[in-house]
């Protein structure tokens, strides 16, 4: 016989200011199922949980309903309270009288009525709930890291140092990501390559890390602890095992017109090339769109000069499946194409470049070897205007969000510029300067005060190309309230941070949520910053939102610590809320197996006939088979027909 204990939470005033809690308790006490009813200010607090434990001991209740906030918030809290008293944790149900009632209902009378109704349904429901035992499943204690930028490298290194195997999958021919493209970093002006390359090499040499470059994730099956991931390696036409990285092929290749991605489109490279001098691995890749051997079956010089015979023209994409227990997504960001800002001449005027292109122009590994020259005529720019918020904070044209890193990298750019051209003048057109990090504000002040950079508050209206090759930048100075124009030799647009083009496709493969802009959504914005709605999938770096290097590294380490604590357990505890077939009722039509997304339903012999059987380790508890079964032979534990139909009672 069910003896239900009912506990109504005030949640401070969050519930009690709208709902007459005392009336709820008095009304529900009269229900025959209820053996104990009580109210308390904060049920989630220790004394609140003690109330439940005491009622289990003294009043011999054997089912519990807590009317409080959303079960998404505190159901595990109360399940634990039951478990500590030896009561099965699945014998508690929550009535969501905060999110679904007090917070969304204006009239206190209606709110109280609704609260009574909501709790009454859960009392009816909890009577039908059965005790369930957690399922233990074995797990693969290896991790997959998607993306070899600084966040992914950090996550991989930390997991590998924790003595777990890591497979690091990177789309491009080298790890290093955006950070490898940067010249110096704010706010210390550390050389980006100098601090990054040791980490790249460490990752490459770590016995627990397997780096797979030129590879992409194509399919993700399974669940936390037991993911099956299909990874495809693109055809690179170079045998990485044989290649010694001498780069003779790159020097001898006659096709030197391939736009250089590493230099953000500035300059060209050969059709067979190592992406940049410090690349890890230092193995070249042939671009099949430009290679004369692959397009016209001519040339083949690289194969002839290669001392290691590493060039293989008949290479083809290769897929294989890897088994991992956890996945860290660190796919990073891309810079927005400023072409939509036609008034700025982005992608049209050769000397109107993006922040990343400026970064390459001042880099010693860049297209000019570190001499700052205009892309159009090679002259040293004596006046440069830096335009902030191009695509950020501009809902009408691109994105509502702030890209976060541009204020700081623009301040850095002005300093780098002054270090290259000491007699030059830098202007910055800004809306607000956002510099909240440690020593960030001081860094911006240094640019303004020591480098004499002129900061003009206002948005640039138009950029016009003049006869003399200069660019007239029409802007305003809202602090003095007048329109101004500057004749500049070069303009740098701080183009917005955007998610990768294929971000949504990967999110759908992984079953993780993403926001309207395409950035991945964390499980809780404050308390679960690296977890996702899918157990075992974690986030790191700018794929979750615009982020600078320190924040990306922090998230990389945070995601790694989540992976390691997951792997610290021997087996994985899986929710017992899965589907079960009653073989006596099953007709063996196996329609259920057609709708099962996890191939968890198999045929088995029962007496003299074939029936369906659900593999507990594979079932994820979605219930698609339950709704499909014509004979009602399948029950979903925790969401059975009995439980759900008790909730579909008329509203009072």
């Amino acid at each position: 016989m069910a003896n239900v204990g009912v506990f109504i939470c005030h949640c401070g005033v969050n519930i009690a200011s709208k709902v007459d809690v005392k009336r709820v308790v008095d009304t529900l006490k009269r229900m025959p199922e209820v053996g104990f009813a009580h109210e308390y200010k904060f049920m989630c607090s220790s004394p609140g949980q003690e109330l439940i434990r005491k009622a289990i001991r003294d009043s011999k209740i054997n089912r519990v309903v807590v009317a409080a906030c959303s079960p998404r918030m505190h159901l595990p809290t109360f399940q634990t309270a039951l478990a500590t008293e030896g009561l099965n944790p699945y014998l508690v149900s929550m009535a969501n009288i905060r999110e679904q009632c007090s917070w969304v209902t204006d009239d206190p009378e209606k709110a109280t009525q609704k609260a009574i109704d909501l709790v009454a349904r859960q009392i009816k429901r909890v009577v039908h709930q059965d005790p369930l035992d957690d399922i233990n499943v074995p797990m693969t204690k290896a991790a997959l890291v998607i993306g070899g930028g600084i966040a992914g490298i950090q996550a991989a290194l930390d997991i590998a140092d924790g003595n777990r195997k890591v497979i690091l999958v990177e789309k491009s021919p080298s790890i290093g990501g955006r950070m490898a493209q940067l010249d110096e970093t704010f706010p210390t002006l550390d050389c980006s390559q100098c601090i990054l390359t040791p980490k790249m090499v460490e990752a490459a040499q770590h016995p627990n890390i397997e780096i797979r470059v030129n590879s992409e994730v194509k399919k993700v099956d399974g669940y936390v602890g037991n993911f099956e991931v299909t990874v495809e390696r693109k055809a690179t036409y170079v045998d990485a095992q044989k290649c010694i990285g001498c780069s003779i092929c790159q020097e001898k290749c006659p096709v030197k017109i391939v736009p250089d991605e590493f230099n953000a489109g500035l300059g060209t490279r050969a059709a067979i090339a190592i992406p940049f001098p410090q690349a890890v691995p230092a193995v070249p890749v042939i671009d099949p769109d430009y290679c004369r051997k692959l397009t016209e079956d001519k040339c083949g010089v690289c194969a002839k000069v290669c001392p290691a015979e590493a060039v293989v023209f008949d290479d083809a994409p290769m897929r294989d499946t890897i088994n991992v227990g956890a996945i860290v997504v660190a796919t990073g960001y891309r810079e927005m194409d400023p072409g939509i800002y036609t008034e700025y001449g982005g992608r049209k005027f050769p000397d109107v470049i993006t922040g990343l292109q400026f970064e390459r122009l001042v880099s010693s590994t860049g297209p000019t070897g570190g001499d700052l020259k205009r892309p159009s005529d090679g002259k040293v720019p004596k006046t440069v205007v830096f335009v902030q918020c191009v695509g950020s904070r501009d809902e009408s044209k691109a994105h509502a969000y702030c890209s976060g890193i541009c204020c700081m990298y623009t301040a850095k750019h002005t300093m780098l510029y002054k270090h290259h051209v000491p007699d030059g003048q830098a202007y910055v057109s800004y809306i607000d300067v956002r510099a909240p990090g440690k020593t960030y504000e001081e860094f911006v002040r240094r640019a303004i005060e020591e480098e004499d950079v002129r900061y003009l508050r206002g948005r640039v209206a138009k950029i016009r190309r003049l006869q003399n090759g200069q660019y007239r930048v029409y802007t305003e100075d809202t602090l003095v309230g007048r329109a101004v124009h500057i004749d500049a030799d070069m303009v740098v647009l701080a183009s917005a941070v955007e998610p990768q083009k294929d971000a949504v496709g990967l999110a759908q493969m992984l079953g993780i949520a993403y926001d309207a802009d395409g950035f991945y959504t964390e499980a809780h914005p404050k308390l679960k910053p690296v977890e996702t709605a899918s157990a075992g999938v974690f986030l790191a770096g700018a794929c979750q939102g615009p982020k600078d290097i320190p924040a990306s590294v922090q998230q990389g380490s945070a995601a790694a610590s989540k992976v390691l604590s997951l792997f610290a357990k021997d087996t994985l505890i899986k929710s017992p809320q899965i589907a079960v077939v009653d073989p006596t009722a099953c007709t063996g039509c196996l329609t259920c197996s057609y709708v099962c997304h996890y191939a968890a339903i198999e045929e088995k012999e029962f007496g003299k006939r074939q029936v369906a059987e659900i593999i507990p380790g594979k079932c994820q508890g979605c219930g698609a088979c339950v709704a499909t079964c014509k004979g009602k032979a399948i029950t979903l534990a925790g969401f059975s027909d009995d439980e759900i139909y008790e909730e579909i009672v008329s509203c009072k």
Binding site: Q508, Q577, A624, V626, T628, I644, Y645
Partner: protein
């Protein structure tokens, strides 16, 4: 049925997207009609048309089923199964004499708290119209 009576709505929401969206409506304090009752299911694919019929038998004026947006289902394809099933359920409703507009199938993500509150409000308004003059509305729809 009377026009001024507040319609009763049963909202069957998947745990991953739409139930979280309803939670967000609460956290954001987007008020919606008090006669909405929410049931959590793991996935919209779990929704059996019998649940919808039971709701009408119990006296609900409208039933809303919501899952994750296409492509975003936590279980891969559950919302597609739901979409097909609900299309059939709607025809069956019509056959037994319940106006098919009394069932509303939609997608609400965990980030769409505002949408949840708006859908509840709009559905309530529609049900009020239906309760008043189901036939008039049907005629209007035929005319357009």
């Amino acid at each position: 049925m009377q026009i001024d009576k507040e319609p009763k709505i049963l909202a069957i929401l998947c745990k991953w997207c739409s139930y979280a969206g309803a939670d967000l409506a609460g956290t954001s304090r987007f008020a919606y009609p008090a006669n909405v009752r929410i049931i959590q299911v793991p996935c919209s694919g779990r929704v059996d048309p019998v649940m919808i019929f039971k709701a009408f038998v119990e006296g609900y004026d409208g039933v809303m089923v919501s899952g994750c947006h296409p492509g975003d289902c936590h279980y891969g394809t559950g919302n597609y199964h739901a979409r097909r099933r609900m299309a059939v359920a709607r025809r069956l409703l019509q056959f037994v004499g319940v106006h098919p507009e009394r069932m509303h199938f939609t997608w609400i993500s965990a980030a769409e708290g505002k949408k949840f509150a708006e859908v509840c409000g709009q559905f309530t308004d529609k049900l009020k119209m239906l309760s008043g003059s189901e036939k008039t509305l049907a005629r209007k729809e035929l005319a357009t």
